[in-house]
């Protein structure tokens, strides 16, 4: 196995097995029609309620894309974009005023395209303007101050920040709260989760962030992928339990195998 860089064999194995099981989960759900039953987390349900709240109050909803470029935290940003697709569709259909703000120059055109498509699909292309998706600054705290200004000026009623955030996280959450908004958030790193959890009314953590798009859509394809993820977690659990038992018995064979 000298073809593979040493120390990365087990990683490749995990990547392959985990991918195949996700594909199997999708196959089971889409082709075999054995669609798993999955409960939507409260945070996802809250997205729809938040749009409704904005319509009722006649105030806008703010969706923040998170910071950083797609070329570094790719997966997290893509998770955010699928939630954006869902939320902007809801907002367009229900005629809620919708604002997307971003500090990332590379996410800016992507968010703009997705939001525009949502408006076009809802037959409300005229409601989309340059004010819908706003690039506020690529400097972290300058962006943060611009959001602080924005939430007060526009009197937003809901603030969504699911994705990759840094130190600006809690500041924008609290500014939005002060403006009277409900906060819906999500972070996948332990470093950021506490801020989200303390500052938000509803939040997603860890894996839920990556699964957010699937929770939103509820299609068999997406639900099937969640089934695959569960199978993968069972594998990880089994390995941990087995490895612990082996270590207790004085053998580190599994640890050595994982280090391969």
């Amino acid at each position: 196995m000298s073809v593979i860089v040493s120390g990365r064999i087990s990683q490749l194995l995990f990547l392959l097995v985990y991918s195949l099981l996700v594909i199997y989960g999708i196959y089971r759900s889409v082709v075999q029609k054995k669609i798993p039953h999955i409960r939507q987390p409260a945070a996802i349900k809250a997205l729809e309620e938040a749009v409704g709240r904005c319509v009722e109050m006649g105030k806008p909803m703010l969706f923040q894309t998170g910071i950083g470029d797609v070329s570094t935290e790719g997966v997290t940003h893509m998770a955010m974009l699928s939630v954006l697709g869902y939320t902007s569709k809801l907002a367009a259909q229900k005629d809620a005023k919708f604002i997307v703000s971003t500090p990332s120059p590379t996410l800016f055109p992507m968010a703009e395209a997705i939001t525009r498509e949502a408006y076009v699909a809802a037959g409300k292309a005229d409601k989309f303007s340059v004010d819908t998706v706003r690039y506020l600054s690529d400097q972290q705290m300058a962006y943060c101050s611009a959001v602080m200004q924005l939430v007060k000026e526009e009197k937003i009623a809901a603030n969504v920040q699911i994705g990759f955030f840094q130190a600006e996280n809690l500041i924008t959450l609290e500014a939005a709260k002060d403006a009277g908004a409900i906060n819906i958030g999500g972070a996948y790193r332990m470093l950021r989760i506490p801020d989200m959890a303390i500052g938000c009314d509803f939040f997603l953590i860890g894996e839920e962030v990556f699964a957010a798009g699937a929770f939103c859509s509820q299609e068999p394809f997406q639900l099937g992928s969640l089934l695959g993820q569960d199978m993968n977690k069972w594998i990880a659990l089994a390995i941990i339990i087995l490895g612990t038992v082996l270590t207790a018995l004085g053998s580190n064979v599994l640890i050595q195998a994982l280090r391969m």
């Binding site: 039953h37 893509m78 395209a113 602080m148 894996e207 569960d230 069972w234 990880a236 941990i240």
Partner: protein, 215 residues
């Protein structure tokens, strides 16, 4: 203290105070700070871009690394966002970036976030002391917290009876562990942030003695 430093310190202190007025109410002073910061931020960002292109990219192209013209051209495609009928063109540069982002993040997480975590969890030590006890309890806590993320199992929760009682207990414990982790994490981040706060506040509090050269 020379005049440039004195002026600088004064401007800084004024900016800090103007920025903090946001806490009372959003107002024109904060707006001024914000507009200034955003404006200078854009200028700074653009200077960095020009700096990078002129110091790295253009010399490299001039030195014969012609392949760099391709990303340059792809970058220019991003201007496609300005007109709707052309916005398909921006997909190419972004597809490249997204591909790089997906690959890099997964690549980085495979070891650090999966393999390393599994190995350190299962490396228990059965010594009769606190460290040994902790290492065992960590295994239990990790497993419990992981069950919280079993989406297909969680789906059965309202029915109650459908779920294995052991699993449902584990899930509850997992939720407690996650809550404990969150509570601790929030408190742990406090001190680092407070350090920067103290630094900023000291600039204001000690401003006058410093101007008079007393500190």
């Amino acid at each position: 203290m020379d005049y440039a430093t004195m002026l600088g310190e004064t401007v800084t202190v004024l900016f800090i105070i103007m920025c903090y007025t946001y806490l009372i109410k959003e107002n024109v002073l904060f707006k001024f700070v914000q507009a200034t910061y955003v404006g200078l931020g854009i200028g700074h960002g653009l200077v960095m871009v020009v700096g990078y292109l002129t110091s790295s990219t253009f010399p490299a192209i001039a030195a014969g690394n012609i392949s760099l013209i391709l990303p340059l051209a792809m970058g220019l495609l991003l201007f496609g966002r300005l007109k709707r009928q052309y916005f398909w063109v921006y997909r190419y540069p972004l597809a490249l970036l997204v591909g790089a982002g997906l690959g890099l993040q997964i690549m980085g997480m495979l070891k650090a976030s999966l393999i390393d975590q599994m190995i350190s969890t299962m490396s228990i030590s059965l010594t009769p002391n606190l460290a040994g006890f902790n290492s065992v309890i960590i295994v239990f806590f990790v497993i419990a917290s992981m069950t919280y993320f079993l989406f297909t199992v969680r789906g059965k929760e309202p029915a109650g009876s459908a779920m294995n009682p052991l699993l449902s207990t584990m899930m509850k414990i997992g939720q407690y562990v996650l809550m404990g982790a969150i509570g601790a994490g929030f408190a742990a981040s406090f001190l680092g942030r407070l350090a920067v706060f103290m630094d900023v506040l000291e600039r204001v509090v000690y401003f006058i003695p410093r101007m008079l050269g007393l500190m």
